[in-house]
């Protein structure tokens, strides 16, 4: 890599840090994604503040996953603009990828690698220094209480453990923001509780959390919640304000009220 490109990269990083210092890790304006005639995401605009837990809610097919994929640099937006971790989502996708963590609903560690090998692989991919990988691995495993599973093949772990491990791996490189796409699907309430403890721990380390979920009790844990309907953001506020806006007791009811407006079917 030439000096010039390193210089340019440093310049971009500095700009990015500046933007983050201004208080927003995500800023999105009129973001739109069309697949042919179908508008999956329809002119959405919102901001996510640093250190926030931002809930991204919506029925299946509302366009959540497409929106997340644009924010993570996996999809190019059809129109609109946005910054994630200080980088442009239209043309600086690889810079974004260096500064975010991502955990999808589909479990995505390697089943045929051991626990420590998965940690080592992703640490290496995110440029963690070789000498730091071993101590980081130990710290991660002892925090999770997984020390004895160090040499276990990942496929042999129970689902809840896998998800906790996947989350810990996703934030191993201390990203500015971590995207969690339905991270707790299919696990028991106790494990979900533990998972959220990990999320709070990450927030205390200064990591912003962007999370989608179908569990309304989890929506309550978020600082702010956006509700997506038919590709648009229908409402965005704190859980408390949303409840009082509709005059209901729970997020469950808020969700039902808003999702009822949907005309789109499940996909």
């Amino acid at each position: 890599m030439g000096i010039k490109s390193i210089k340019q990269r440093l310049l971009r990083e500095r700009k990015a840090i500046q933007a983050v210092n201004d208080g927003y890790v995500i800023q999105v304006n009129d973001l739109t994604k069309k697949f042919g005639d179908f508008t999956a995401v329809d002119h959405i605009s919102f901001e996510v503040r640093k250190g926030e837990i931002f809930g991204f809610l919506g029925a299946n097919g509302a366009g959540k996953t497409t929106a997340i994929r644009m924010l993570c640099g996996l999809h190019r937006p059809t129109s609109g603009s946005g910054m994630v971790a200080g980088f442009n989502i239209c043309n600086q996708q690889e810079d974004i990828k260096r500064n975010i963590g991502y955990m999808s609903q589909k479990f995505s560690l390697y089943n045929d690698l051991r626990v420590w090998e998965n940690i080592r692989l992703f640490a290496g991919i995110y440029g963690v220094n070789e000498n730091l990988i071993a101590p980081k691995t130990d710290a991660l495993l002892s925090r999770l209480g997984f020390m004895s599973e160090r040499n276990t093949m990942v496929r042999e772990l129970p689902l809840g453990w896998k998800q906790k491990l996947a989350f810990s791996v996703a934030i191993l490189h201390d990203p500015r923001i971590v995207f969690l796409d339905e991270p707790t699907g299919g696990v028991d309430p106790l494990t979900r509780r533990q998972f959220w403890e990990l999320i709070y721990e990450a927030v205390s380390r200064g990591i912003t959390v962007f999370v989608t979920t179908h569990y309304m009790d989890e929506a309550e844990y978020c600082n702010r919640v956006s509700m997506m309907v038919d590709g648009r953001i229908e409402m965005l506020d704190t859980p408390r304000n949303l409840r009082s806006h509709f005059g209901v007791e729970s997020m469950e009811e808020v969700f039902t009220r808003i999702a009822r407006k949907a005309t789109r079917n499940d996909d």
Partner: protein, 380 residues
């Protein structure tokens, strides 16, 4: 490209490859089974063709000819038919593959040195068998006719001096470089080429699409790994695997058939490596465009079948129709099979093989460029 990241990716790929329970048996068993079974099974030698005989002459000569046909290893007389119709019926029913009709004046014509016509009919549903059978039979009859003429001459029945044997144009094929026309040694280089094609085309094609199905590909795409690193991490293990399979294949060919490449082994390996690089690129291209492993498998199979069938492995390129021969110019497998045969059987030097070499290099570059273009970290 970052050497550091590539190191972690290679570590991962090798661990996964070695842990895959079918991978190691595959590396050994694939070349072994193919090299043991195929050269024997895919032979062009034809034996035991069932034949119906219509003898209209019932002479000493006609019986001698029948005996000669029966005593060859190639034919088995299954029916003495009284009419041509009966013999054809027999072919139609499938109980005979060929029929021969000896004309009424066979012996006398032979002795008088008049032209003799023997009718041969063959069931050409299996065209190769019919063609080869007819030419064997023709040869037996010609030899027989010559012998008869000579014999009569010795016995003084024909005045050789006054009635010379008609001048004959005789084609004497001289098979060079494979003097015994041994199909086993002819097949071995082609099978090595086929193994390399399978390693790249199928295994590499399935690799990325399996990561896509498992969801790990998305995790990679959302990471800062460059696509060069990722693809190199995928390609390099297959290059090494291809090299190992080639070496094992050559070892097996030596142990089973005593086949030692006449040409330079390093030239051979250079071809094998570059070709294998090309085909792993081809496999990765397929797995980048395919949506599932099933699709990848189907696309890969479609192309490999064409590459094999039009590559001169089973049927020689030179006996294809002209338009088909032009298509083989676009077939990377044809160049490799050709080069492998020339190196192993003929002992061709590298300098004899420039066309094959540059073709192989071009395909390798093109396939890998396609893979690189098709693999996108950010979808539109």
């Amino acid at each position: 490209m970052q050497a550091k990241v590539l190191k972690y990716l290679l570590e991962k790929e090798f661990k996964q490859m070695l842990r895959n329970p079918i991978m190691l048996p595959l590396i050994i068993a694939l070349p072994l089974i193919q090299l043991v079974i195929l050269p024997y099974a895919a032979t062009y030698e034809i034996r035991n063709i069932r034949i119906a005989v219509v003898d209209n002459d019932h002479s000493q000569a006609s019986r001698a000819l029948e005996e000669k046909i029966a005593s060859s290893n190639y034919f088995r007389i299954v029916l003495q038919a009284s009419t041509h119709q009966e013999a054809l019926q027999c072919i139609r029913a499938g109980s005979a593959g060929m029929a021969i009709e000896i004309p009424a004046d066979f012996e006398s014509d032979l002795i008088m040195n008049r032209p003799v016509s023997v009718y041969i009919s063959a069931d050409a549903v299996d065209g190769t068998k019919a063609g080869i059978g007819a030419s064997y039979l023709g040869q037996i009859i010609r030899n027989f006719a010559e012998d008869v003429v000579k014999e009569k001459a010795v016995k003084g029945l024909i005045d050789v001096v006054h009635q010379p044997v008609p001048a004959k144009v005789e084609a004497v094929p001289l098979f060079r470089f494979n003097p015994a026309l041994d199909y086993k040694t002819y097949m071995v280089p082609g099978i090595l080429a086929m193994l390399l094609t399978l390693v790249g085309g199928i295994l590499a094609a399935l690799n990325i699409s399996s990561e896509r199905e498992l969801g790990t590909l998305e995790q990679i795409k959302v990471s800062p790994v460059s696509k060069f690193d990722y693809l190199a991490g995928k390609l390099i293990p297959f290059w090494i695997m291809g090299l190992i399979i080639t070496l094992i294949g050559l070892g097996i060919a030596y142990l089973l058939y005593g086949l030692i490449p006449k040409g330079n082994v390093f030239t051979l390996l250079a071809f094998a490596i570059i070709y294998n690089m090309g085909f792993t690129g081809f496999g990765l291209f397929i797995s980048s465009v395919a949506k599932s492993q099933q699709q990848a498998m189907f696309i890969a199979f479609f192309f490999l079948l064409i590459f094999f069938l039009m590559g001169g492995l089973f049927t020689p390129v030179s006996s294809m129709p002209h338009w088909a021969q032009y298509i083989t110019y676009l077939n990377p497998t044809a160049y490799l099979i050709d080069a492998m045969r020339l190196i192993i059987l003929k002992g061709s030097r590298f300098s004899d093989l420039y066309p094959q070499f540059w073709a192989t290099v071009s395909f390798a570059v093109a396939f890998n460029a396609m893979a690189l273009l098709a693999f996108r970290k950010t979808a539109d």
